[in-house]
């Protein structure tokens, strides 16, 4: 993975000192609450319902065992013994004291981590395919480009006060696991007509209260122009994006109101003028960055595969985990292991300090000391030799992190909701628990197949409900909590927004309603058809009828 040099280390160290000064000026009354807010936000520090909330960047979801140990230490020392993995591959602490935040930053800086630009109207943490570098369906590893973008966007003097936050997602794989079509800019590594690899560029996607699927702004962009082009997009947005209304300030609204054609013209015109401004990358620079992401020293053995086969045959429970929670690796003899953070009863994405330490050790032993976080709020050990999977599984079981439910209904995305968020209209974590309780039969879940459930506690959509195969949106009705049901969304290559099936249902009824929907799905589906595909084939009408049958 990327290693800081002197430049990077100096920058994060100086940033910590700067933040310390800001806190001091705030405490001395020289910075008002609002002024301090603008500054702390640029360092990932929010104020939430009960307390400060501190969001730490995990660039493109990649981090090391050593960094995980530091997170565990911080969770223990400065928080209430846990941390939360977010939908943007970051980590969040929900209970730090303001006086401690600079200290946490210092501890992070010592292991090459920071919280810069994890919030505020700036370019945020760049996200990537969680299987980058190990996926069999990958054309090229996106992470070197993510790191290049990270550095370019860090403390960019021109773009530190954008109209609104700005998110970039990158993938190099055939299957879009990074939801790039739902980013302000989405980048897909593709092969151009002459065989050269470059980027297809999407713009203007996003969730939030006005979810929009991004559009292609450029079919092919040469790699060397990655930064020149992205800077041109940002400049157009910085000048023309709306600043009068926060809910209309994202680039998606600008693109929608101009139309993609006019927007493209503006960007191309700006690019003509600025592409020689010193941001063009050389081959040597790209190769140097790629060097940081070179494959580890894989040593596949023939015995490993045979051993795994035997173990799987001998232990049903292990076999189930292998089937559900591992994925093929591009190197024969290795598997990608997914660590579910969706154990029944746990808040999706939460991890205790002990679990953090434990999993850091497992990554050290079994996966070259590296971990990944996913936008679906799980963790990944990407490079596990087949012969060692069982030992890993045993280790995960001991940490209660071996729930074999990846890709199932219970592997849901869920925003913090009423428990932590001042804007929430409904609680989400109890609904997750309700669903977990109702659907506790793994075989039934497996039979349902891939099903992406996404839940937000209000229309701001942090839980991506509009692109869930099954989306849940919390709403308030006369002071009580209700849920809207949305079907048929997708965040992948076929990105599309789901449709609301009718009036909201009471919070207590959510799991029952889901049961009705799924029972109908099982009746309607054709051989091997996923839930979302059935919904697309039949439309929402039959589901609507079933759910509201008793009410009409």
């Amino acid at each position: 993975m990327y290693q800081y040099d002197n430049y990077d280390q100096t920058l994060v160290n100086e940033r910590v000192a700067q933040f310390r000064g800001q806190v001091q000026r705030h405490l001395d009354g020289k910075l008002s609450d609002e002024e301090f807010r603008q500054l702390r936000l640029r360092n990932g520090l929010y104020y939430q319902l009960h307390a400060y909330m501190f969001r730490i960047a995990v660039p493109y979801g990649l981090f090391s065992s050593r960094q995980m140990h530091t997170l565990a230490h911080c969770a223990r020392t400065y928080d209430r013994g846990y941390g939360h993995f977010t939908t943007r591959q970051n980590v969040q602490f929900n209970w730090p004291e303001l006086e401690d935040v600079a200290k946490i930053m210092e501890e992070l800086a010592a292991v090459q981590m920071h919280a810069i630009q994890t919030s505020g109207n700036v370019v945020r943490n760049v996200t990537a395919d969680q299987y980058a570098g190990v996926a069999a369906d990958e054309l090229e590893d996106p992470r070197p480009y993510c790191e290049i973008l990270r550095q370019w966007s860090t403390l960019h003097p021109e773009f530190c006060w954008l109209p609104r936050k700005f998110k970039i997602g990158v993938t190099g794989a055939a299957e879009d696991r990074a939801a790039i079509r739902l980013h302000d800019i989405g980048l897909e590594l593709v092969r151009g007509e002459d065989g050269e690899v470059g980027f297809k560029v999407f713009v203007g996607g996003g969730m939030g209260r006005t979810p929009i699927v991004g559009k292609v702004v450029r079919e092919f962009l040469e790699k060397r122009h990655l930064l020149t082009y992205v800077e041109a997009v940002l400049r157009v947005y910085n000048q023309l994006g709306r600043r009068d209304d926060n809910t209309k300030a994202r680039i998606k609204i600008l693109v929608r109101s101009l139309g993609i054609k006019r927007f493209r013209k503006l960007v191309e015109a700006e690019w003509e003028l600025s592409r020689d401004d010193g941001l063009e990358l050389t081959d040597a620079e790209i190769e140097r960055m790629q060097g940081f992401f070179a494959p580890p020293d894989y040593q596949p053995t023939a015995e490993g595969a045979a051993e795994l086969e035997q173990q799987v045959a001998a232990d049903k429970s292990f076999a189930r985990w292998v089937k559900r929670n591992t994925r093929p690796h591009k190197v024969t003899g290795y598997r990608i292991a997914i660590v579910s953070l969706k154990a029944p009863g746990a808040a999706p994405g939460d991890l205790t300090d002990t679990q953090m330490d434990g999993i850091a050790d497992l990554a050290e032993r079994f996966s070259f000391g590296e971990l990944r976080s996913t936008h679906e709020q799980n963790l990944v050990l990407a490079d596990v030799a087949e012969g060692e999977l069982q030992a890993l599984w045993e280790g995960l079981k001991a940490l209660e992190l071996a729930t074999p439910n990846i890709g199932t209904l219970n592997d849901m995305i869920c925003c913090p909701g009423l428990d932590f968020c001042a804007l929430a209209k409904a609680s989400t974590i109890p609904v997750a628990a309700q669903i977990n309780e109702k659907f506790d039969d793994l075989d039934y879940l497996y039979d349902l197949g891939e099903l992406k459930l996404k839940m937000s506690g209000c229309m701001n959509g942090c839980g991506h409900h509009y692109v869930g195969h099954l989306g849940l949106l919390g709403v308030d009705k006369k002071g009580s909590e209700w849920y809207q049901i949305i079907l048929g969304g997708s965040a992948s290559n076929d990105a599309v927004l789901g449709r609301r099936i009718g009036p909201a249902v009471p919070l207590d009824e959510v799991a029952n309603v889901i049961e009705k929907i799924l029972t109908l799905y099982v009746d309607l589906r054709e051989e091997g058809e996923r839930f979302v595909d059935t919904v697309h084939r039949t439309g929402i009408a039959p589901f609507k009828e079933r759910v509201y049958a008793d009410h009409t």
Partner: protein, 161 residues
């Protein structure tokens, strides 16, 4: 009044004329609108600067840049970001070499970014401590990207050793 110019506290000599009011003697700024309306008179008078609001188009001013010695960029509040692009384009794309000044909700933590975009003087909010503001410039010494300053892209620097 005191301002920060080229990282020093200096006495300011400029006055800023509201639209419709007569110009005082000496160095004075006008809005872009007024500049465009009274352009010939103002050029003949000399010593006139132009104030740009965030939504103002640079295009309207380009032909006149050589005759203008001060451009004031307005930042009505801290979240306003268009001035950064205005400054950078004035400096790097349009070769403006006169003074660029930031005014409005300008304080400590924006100064260094503004400076990197080509702003060279700052009207720091009156309730702010000047020395405090001056300390802002050196806080983060590492710059990853070029702007209107002499920095080069970090990857170029690394490649050159």
């Amino acid at each position: 009044m005191q301002i920060i110019r080229n990282q020093r506290v200096e006495e300011d000599t400029w006055r800023h004329a509201p639209d419709g009011e007569p110009l005082a003697a000496g160095q004075v700024t006008v809005s872009l609108k007024r500049w465009l309306e009274e352009r010939d008179t103002l050029i003949a008078r000399g010593d006139v600067g132009v104030r740009l609001a965030p939504a103002d188009e640079l295009a309207d001013l380009l032909a006149d840049l050589p005759t203008i010695t001060l451009i004031v960029l307005e930042f009505p509040d801290i979240t306003e970001g268009r001035g950064y692009t205005q400054a950078r384009l004035l400096r790097t794309r349009h070769g403006y070499s006169g003074e660029i000044r930031a005014t409005g909700d300008v304080q400590h933590d924006q100064l260094s970014f503004m400076q990197r975009c080509g702003v060279d003087s700052f009207v720091v909010r009156e309730d702010r401590d000047m020395d405090d503001a001056l300390a802002a410039f050196g806080e983060v010494s590492v710059r990853y990207q070029p702007a209107a300053d002499d920095e080069t892209l970090i990857f170029h620097r690394r490649e050159q050793g």
